[in-house]
Point group: C2
Chain length 247, copies 2
Amino acid sequence: MKRMKAMIAYDGSGFAGYQVQPDSRTVQQELMNVLKTIHKGQIVQVVASGRTDAKVHATGQVVHFDTALVIPVAGWLKALNVLLPEDIRVLAIEETDSSFHARYHTSGKTYRYKWDRSQIISPFTRNYMVHTKQRPDVAAMRQAAEAVLGTHDFSSFCAANTGVVDKVRTIRRLDFEEHGEELHMVIEGSGFLYNMVRIIAGTLMEIGLGRRHADEMAEIIAASDRSAAGKTAAAHGLYLEQVVYKG
Amino acid sequence: MKRMKAMIAYDGSGFAGYQVQPDSRTVQQELMNVLKTIHKGQIVQVVASGRTDAKVHATGQVVHFDTALVIPVAGWLKALNVLLPEDIRVLAIEETDSSFHARYHTSGKTYRYKWDRSQIISPFTRNYMVHTKQRPDVAAMRQAAEAVLGTHDFSSFCAANTGVVDKVRTIRRLDFEEHGEELHMVIEGSGFLYNMVRIIAGTLMEIGLGRRHADEMAEIIAASDRSAAGKTAAAHGLYLEQVVYKG
């Protein structure tokens, strides 16, 4: 058996999320359907770095699967992209060590969150950016972002319905980029709790819109209480951009 | 009665085209539905500069309609965009002369056709650009484009199923722009026959891919025969970008 590691991109608009669930179109199910076809009916498990929610996009999700088939990597790339629906693309694939694990061996992830500050949102970006008609104060968002950097208990930025006990995570980078009317938040960390990026984005936007003060961010983190933070930003602005592995 | 002129953009992906047709979702029908709501059930006719086909996009379509309502333009813009589905946006609206006609008074139109030359097409652009995996020779396409400029009988570039008799049109501009992996054809002319832009795009791409020689373009025009030209390029690469009016 060979273990294959693939980097994939998907447009989350048409999916109920990454992970398989009954009666829903999911990225994992589409990948498994195609691998089943390639393996002549045999079920092949696919393991991702983590799940993404409905409408959330990926430009650099990583998955692994095991195969007994002897196919060169160019052949894998071609076969997968011919068989997959167009809203999922395999960007790269390689044979990896049999001990590699797409989920357990991550050492970090980068997410990007996109807002569109245009007066009228383009019909072409409606599924790919979140519209904010009122112009946010990006300087205030940058100032508040500083409090997020480093190692903290992120209980305030974790959806209540989760079984995770250890909520300490390390954020290495939290930048804002402005590309014309687009405003991007780029966040890189050791790992993320459920909805953590979207709650951080939502809270920082409330600060940008003057509904909260930039100084509050440190207090919100210290509160270790979901109700202290802002609203969860909409799913369709979020992109899983990169997954980094140990070693 | 006041005549209102509006510039609209739409993502063609979810429409069977601009023009109303039974049991299909069309841009015109969505506009008329919203105007009917605003006019408390009264039917308001909407006239566009011309129809666009299924999957064809617009970034600068122009329409007009008549209304007895007294609403400031900012109010019109807001009301229309609140009520319209997100894949249609009104970009601008103004009161215009009652003699203005969105279809009859056009003096020119600009279309843009987009190809993606990436090895693997992004899942985010699949509905907005046409993938060409083989890299086209843009210099050859530019050379061939020169033959298209000026006033010609464009019968070779007109879908056979049309009742139009006069097939003479003037092309004022035909440029290729390269934006990273994107290749755009921008074409501006006095008017366009049915499928004319897509047949020109398809024929120029065949030249770019070496299936025809750049010199053939003049002969194809001279033939005045649809079968002399190349295939009609796919609809989802096409954008109606600008409509120009007389006077």
